[in-house]
Amino acid sequence: MSLVRVTNGVTRPAAVTFDVDGVSVSAPAGEPLATALAVAGLLTLRDSPRNGAPRGAFCHMGLCQECVVSVDGRTVQACLTPVRDGMTVNLGGTLK
């Protein structure tokens, strides 16, 4: 379903808002985009090339490339990309 931010006793930076395939999502500034998307319930980031099956962030450390999305027109790994105010994220049409 989704990742969950721990609230108890944790303080986080102020939230920023960004656009994901036309939908507005907010998350604490600097949080990795893969995390922010999964907290918002967006686990599927792309489809696999050969059999088209849904894929989402897997390693969360920058190696597997499963989290690759487009941010402001550039291809990036969402688990290594901190969220910024006003960024435009494109999941390649997988956003439902």
């Binding site: 379903m1 721990v6 303080t11 949080e31 907290v39 390693c59 969360h60 291809t75």
Partner: protein, 475 residues
């Protein structure tokens, strides 16, 4: 512009940071490079900037101490730099925050750490399934739970670290599924007890797990994960001592996340690219470079340390890092023999003290051949290219004798992760199918880019005037 230095250290985990500190204290001009925002590496990773946690665990404290020492040192710290190319003796090219950067020095220490191994099972590609080590990153650096109801499965100590981490942060663990049975852990106690401080940490995890009354399945493995477009349940079943599925009833757990991992694989791309000699060591996680006791590889002035040279854990990696840093300073004639011997003796002793503990933990994380043998034919092995086990077997039957031939036949390992996620298991499959030892099937031919970077970052901006044109030959 190229930053010239006496020594480059790639990777600012416990190993690389200690190496940089030791060499810098001995007087070398040291540049320490890492793609993360701060030092600490995977195990001692710094929390996101602006995030504060109520309580700090031992790893966070060890990381803070390391970062404080680094901040007070003369080491030139270059964070947020992703090194994609490596060559010569020695030049590193990195994608930095403001574009391409280059570094050059006569000495290089590779301390690039390890990455996770997940032995494939049906459904492991479903969104909601994540790596166990990746889960530690979410928990420690981001204060984020991997899901609302999480199954934690696999082998090795990270299992308990993750389960205890979820419980401590108020999350729900649906079940803990450990490939090892209780007897296996009982047999390991003497080795673990050699480091009482670390054993105590492990016992602390066990207490919190017992306190939360989480179903604990010892001697079980994941059979499959199911769900339509996302994970919805995990089916587990008994496994024997070698990791092969055993008779017995399957159990199913509804969950929205599965954190699963079967140990770590040394991420030693740098010594491989530079053609240092390697050998296969199952206990240490895979192919690792041949090293002298101080971390010298078979290539002159190339050193390697930490989990990238074989899985040992954070504290032994730190000791190995100091040794490599001292060796680099000694080889650069900045330390006399007596000082070097005296300083190295301390770290050599620390490393020896950790050895029984490190070996015990590494054994729990080592690849289990019977688990690999049991992968079903239709299971995807290479996530990037959707290559199944059956396709790998077919390639071997058609004559693919080593891992690189198999790659050409199937595209396994040819995707964007460059075989990092599947390589260890894929090579094991080839070796098993051929009935030969792992050494014979080798490892992927390592090439740059070390990490994917956009093409415009690679080429950067250049001026025709900067292109070196040799003077014309005299007529």
């Amino acid at each position: 512009m190229t930053r010239q230095a006496d020594l480059l250290v790639l990777g600012a985990g416990p190993a690389g940071t200690e190496a940089a500190l030791a060499a810098s204290e001995a007087g070398l001009d040291v540049v320490l490079i890492d793609e993360q925002a701060d030092a600490g590496g995977q195990g001692w990773r710094a929390p996101l900037s602006g995030l504060t946690l109520p309580r700090k665990g031992p790893d966070a404290e060890a990381g803070d101490a390391l970062r404080a020492r680094l901040a007070a040192s003369r080491v030139d710290r270059r964070f947020g730099r992703r090194v994609w190319s490596i060559g010569g003796a020695f030049r590193l090219d990195a994608a930095g925050p403001d574009g391409p950067e280059a570094y050059q020095a006569p000495r290089l220490i590779a301390a690039t750490g390890a990455h996770e191994r997940v032995v494939p099972f049906p459904g492991w590609t479903l969104p909601g399934v994540i790596g166990l080590a990746g889960a530690t990153v979410l928990l420690k650096a981001q204060a984020v739970l991997p899901g609302r109801r999480v199954v934690v499965a696999g082998s090795g100590p990270l299992l308990f670290a993750v389960a205890a981490g979820i419980i401590a942060k108020g999350g729900e663990v649906a079940a803990i599924v450990d490939m090892d049975n209780r007897l296996a852990w009982a047999k390991r106690l003497p080795g673990l007890a050699r480091r009482f401080d670390l054993l105590k940490e492990g016992l602390g995890w066990t207490w919190s797990i017992l306190g939360a009354r989480v179903p604990f399945l010892a001697g079980y493995g994941v059979r499959r994960a199911t769900g339509e477009t996302e994970l919805s349940s995990v089916i587990v079943g008994p496994v024997d001592a070698n990791g092969a599925p055993a008779d017995g009833t399957e159990r199913s757990f509804d969950c929205d996340a599965l954190a699963v991992g079967h140990g770590l694989v040394p991420g030693g791309e740098v010594p491989k690219i530079l053609r240092a000699d390697h050998f296969y060591d199952r206990l240490r996680g895979g192919f690792i470079p041949e090293l002298d006791p101080f971390g010298r590889t078979t290539i002159e002035n190339l050193y390697a340390c930490g989990d990238g040279t074989g899985i040992r854990g954070a504290r032994p990696s730190a000791a190995a890092g100091r040794l490599a840093g001292l060796a680099a300073a000694y080889d650069a004639e900045r330390l006399d023999e007596r000082t070097f011997d005296a300083l190295a003796a301390l770290s050599l002793k620390a490393l020896a003290d950790y050895r029984p503990f490190a070996d015990t933990v590494a054994a729990a994380m080592a690849l289990r051949p019977a688990q690999v043998a049991a992968i079903t034919p239709e299971t995807i092995v290479c996530r990037c290219e959707d290559v199944t086990r059956a396709e790998i077997d077919a390639a071997v039957d058609a004559g693919a004798g080593d891992i690189n031939q198999m790659k050409h036949f199937t595209r396994c390992g040819m995707g964007p992760c460059q075989g990092r996620m599947c390589g260890d298991v894929a090579a094991e499959l080839v070796a098993q199918r051929r009935g030969v030892p792992r050494d014979e099937v080798g490892f992927w031919t390592q090439r740059v880019p070390l990490r994917p970077v956009p093409f415009d970052t690679m080429i950067g901006t250049f001026d025709y005037a900067d292109i070196p044109i040799p003077p014309p030959a005299p007529l």
